[in-house]
Subunit: 233 residues, 2 copies
């Protein structure tokens, strides 16, 4: 499992591109994905997010192994698959990706089920007695779902040193080997995380997703996405 | 407001007694309360919690200003009132305490709406689009509700040095002066908190209460209630 070469990312937005960019710098081959490969995205004052095809061609021109494709192509491509879609659309997107393309693979679920339909702040589309992580595991029982990284912003996910001082990240999932790969290879070796906490089976995704309202409050208070929490005892 | 002498505590359990004990050591007069003043409580391996009347008589014998009474007597007694009841029963208990006894007073809400009726781990009886803090403010519109301290265990509430290193506490509420009293007098001066974060109006109680599932996961992982989080940037 430590010899993973091909990363499939279901999603083509900011989280997908941030994860993808980091994977490319590690020498990995990455396919990000979208239903619409040619639309860029207006991020307001933060500029424009390239379309999936633009992202791929820019990085290919720089000699990197970057690809764009459909959800299904990306899931097929990846030896490990990342769910980087908006949480309210994740089950649909992963269904389009294809259950057979996820079977027996580690599926790292980074998403939060934020529902913006009633305005700001968003609520959670699922919580308390269920979670997005559990729903994904239930919909795709052969996938080895690991909930991880949903408690920090995209930049911090791949570069924990953006936050000064010690801080913590969490994993949850039913497959112990999958969690070990995510903890030791993905989080520690590839992304540089030092404090990694295993919270148990996938039901702990409830706790990780229900932390989001506090994250949003802290984001508003601190006016920066570059923060996290340290567990102190 | 800094000359508060009489503290009314709605509730007589472990949180009520911990808060009460601390207030007594500060020279304040404290009334804790219960529907049943004479029943002690079995805490299993941690021993027995004295009944409200036992608590009062033990401390009175030591020369301290400790009283036991009904919810209504405690709320009437307090210049500041604390809600230290189990969250699922808080609105009923505060109704018994009497709306007129809460009017224009700071009501510090420490409770979490944990529902143990479906077994462990507990779920939240209210969350996401509402919170216990908001419900209490809505039921008692003349009370000056401040949500605080619900994110740490009782011992840490009154003795933050039980946790080594810097760590954070939060307040939320609609009444700015009430929050300032809670922040500067109660939390900093009386209890010794150094990092106090104002998260805004009482709707932020959602975030503070929805943190509880993560607190419970961390409690299970760390096997001690003496922990907290530090916000790191």
């Amino acid at each position: 499992m430590s010899e993973v070469q091909n990363i499939g990312i279901v999603g083509g937005g900011q989280v997908a591109q941030t994860i993808g960019n980091k994977m490319l710098t590690l020498g990995l081959a990455v396919m990000i994905s979208s239903r619409d490969l040619d639309s860029d995205r207006d991020l307001g004052p933060r500029g424009k997010l390239p379309s999936v095809n633009q992202w791929a061609s820019q990085h290919t021109a720089a000699g990197l192994k970057a690809f764009g494709g459909s959800f299904s192509q990306a899931a097929e491509f990846g030896e490990v698959v990342f769910n980087c879609t908006a949480g309210v659309g994740s089950v649909d997107a992963l269904t389009a990706a294809g259950e057979h393309n996820l079977a027996d693979k580690i599926l790292v679920d980074l998403a939060n089920p934020l529902d913006f339909s009633q305005g700001m702040p968003p609520t959670l589309a699922v919580c308390n007695t269920d979670s997005l992580g559990e729903r994904i595991q239930a919909h795709f029982p052969q996938a080895r779902v690991v909930k991880a990284l949903n408690t920090v912003s995209a930049g911090v996910m791949v570069d924990p040193k953006l936050v000064t001082g010690a801080h913590d990240i969490f994993v949850a999932g039913n497959d112990v080997e999958a969690k070990e790969w995510v903890s030791h290879i993905l989080l520690r070796e590839w992304f540089g995380w030092e404090r990694i906490n295993d919270l148990g089976d996938i039901t702990a995704a409830r706790a990780l997703e229900m932390y989001l309202p506090l994250w949003l409050q802290l984001f508003q208070m601190l006016q920066t996405p570059y923060f996290n929490i340290q567990v102190v005892r």
